[in-house]
Structures are given as C-alpha cells and as structure tokens.
C-alpha cells in the first residue's frame, strides 16, 4: 500500500513546476498551492491514478483573490489533500473539473452563483440554489455584496 510520504514525494516530483507551495498541516491534512492552469492535470492524476475521492470544493473571497479549495481524500492512508487555487477577483475564470469527475458539477454551479466564478467547459452552468427573483451578476458571498432588495426588513421590530 502506498504511504503518505510516498504520495507527497510523488506529487512533488511529478508536478515540480506547478506546485508553488505545500503546507503540511497535520498527519491527515495537506494544502497544495497551484496556479489555475495546473488544476485539471493535477486533479486528474490525484483522482484517477492515486484513487482519491473528490470530497467537495469550497470557495472563499479573500480580500486579494477569490480562492477555491478542491478537497480530495485518499481513504487508504486517511489523507485529505486540498488543492488551493487563487483567482483574479476582477475576472475569476477557471477550467471546470467536470471533465475529470462528474461530482464536481453541482458544487461548481453553486460556486458560480454565490461567488461569480466562471467555470469554462462546464456542461450546464445554470443557477442551483438561489431563488428566481435573484438579480443577475449579484454574488452574495462576495465581500463587496450590497443589499439589492428594497423590501428587506433588517430589524426585529423592537425599539
């Protein structure tokens, strides 16, 4: 069975040019920083060759970038690998992961509507969770989100 050390050494040699930083957080957790262009080949290797499971992706609007973390688990060695990509806040575009694994479909739709990230090559980038009245190009999880609904009540009705 492949060991944790071997997996990390293998990734480091194979993707030497792409990996910008590795943060070895704990025995069960490692963060790997990569540029957006390296996402698809690297996750294809982790998903198909290392036999990892695609857990979820999570998007955050940090002040400087829009950051997406793709979490993969290798269950045999109990290791969670998070691939971290940083996107330009003005124009967040990244290749879709649906070509590698079908399970990325819905989470990419969710990140698209909540953070406004454009996933190129996604088969069906419709709205997933927000209501039909929600205006276009308004992304609620962005830091610069402003309330658009004039009828919203934001007090508890007590003085």
């Amino acid at each position: 069975m492949i060991k944790r050390k071997e997996v990390l050494a293998d990734l480091q040699t194979r993707f030497k040019k792409e990996i910008t930083d590795i943060f070895d957080k704990s025995p069960h957790r490692v963060y790997i920083d990569i540029p957006p262009s390296a996402l698809v080949p690297m996750s294809r290797y982790i998903f198909q060759d290392l036999g990892a499971r695609f857990n979820i992706a999570s998007g955050v609007d940090t002040r400087s970038h829009i950051e997406i973390l793709y979490h993969f688990t290798i269950e045999d060695i109990n290791l969670l690998i998070s691939l971290r990509v940083r996107l330009n806040r003005q124009k967040p575009v990244i290749a879709s992961l649906t070509t590698v694994c079908e399970a990325a479909n819905w989470i990419e739709r969710e990140i698209h509507e909540l953070l406004g990230v454009d996933f190129t090559g996604h088969p069906d980038l419709r709205r997933l969770l927000l209501s039909d009245q929600w205006p276009d190009k308004v992304y609620p999880l962005r830091r610069d989100y402003k309330e658009w609904d004039k009828g919203a009540v934001r007090d508890r009705g007590v003085k």
């Binding site: 927000l130 209501s131 009245q133 929600w134 609620p140 989100y145 309330e147 609904d149 009828g151 919203a152 009540v153 934001r154 007090d155 508890r156 009705g157």
Partner: protein, 140 residues
C-alpha cells in the same frame, strides 16, 4: 363562542412546515407527539396536507424560496387557519437576520397567532404556547 370556533378548538389538526430550519425545532415538535408528552391525548395531531389542517406550524427562518411556498400554503389552508411560529428563527430569524437569503420575517408574510420563542423551545413551552393560543381564540 360559535360552532365553528368550538369545532376548531376541540381537536387542532396541525400541518408542520419547515422553512429552512436546522431541524432542531422540528425534533422538539416531534417530541411533543411521542409518548412522553403525547399531545394526541388532546386531539392535536399532525396531518399530511394543509387542506386538512387547522394550524400551520412554522419553523425556520423563511428564506426566499420557502417564503413563496409558505404564502401559497397559507392561501390553500381552510379558514380560519391559525399560524404558530416556533423557535427564534421563525420569530425574528435569529442569527440569520442579516442573511442575504432571509429578507422578511414570518409575521410580515402571513398573520401569526402565537409565538413560541426558544432555540429550540422545550416541548413544555410548545404545549404551553398551544394552550395559550386556545385560550386566546376562546376569548378568555
């Protein structure tokens, strides 16, 4: 007290609607129906359709999608329909008050007859709230 009010209060049939709650209030509502509290002794029972219900029991913070459905359900209910808000979320939206997805509280959408606060309210509090609601409708 007219015949309709008397018939209404004799046995309250409840339709339980969760408008995006964390399910904790829903568990407490179910707890009222289990043998320990057993509100069915008093003729209170859950029904599967709003058209059979006298009471619309609402938990959760009324998000944009479920608020539409809540108003629709209230219109479908046979009148008089009493609305009971259970838990802090349906009273004032609790910690979700600044949320982009919870623009309006329950009592701005439909008229509410009873408020039962708590996060979640205890089964005792829910039963006490229902007793107060019955007394209020009776006019005592």
């Amino acid at each position: 007290m007219g015949i309709t009010t008397k018939a209404l209060l004799k046995s309250l049939w409840v339709f339980h609607l969760s408008t995006g709650s964390c399910n904790n209030c829903d568990i407490e509502v179910l707890d009222c129906l289990t043998p320990r509290f057993d509100v069915e002794r008093f003729g209170i029972k859950l029904v599967g359709s709003i058209r059979h219900a006298d009471v619309l029991l609402v938990t959760g913070s009324c998000n944009r999608k479920s608020a539409e459905r809540l108003v629709k359900l209230y219109k479908e209910a046979p009148q008089p329909c009493l609305v009971v808000a259970i838990g802090e979320c349906s009273l004032s939206r609790g910690i979700f008050i600044p949320s982009y997805n919870c623009p309006r509280p329950l009592d701005k959408l439909v008229p509410v007859s009873a408020y039962i606060p708590g996060c979640p309210p205890k089964p005792e509090a829910i039963i006490s709230g229902i007793v107060k609601l019955i007394q209020k409708v009776k006019g005592k």
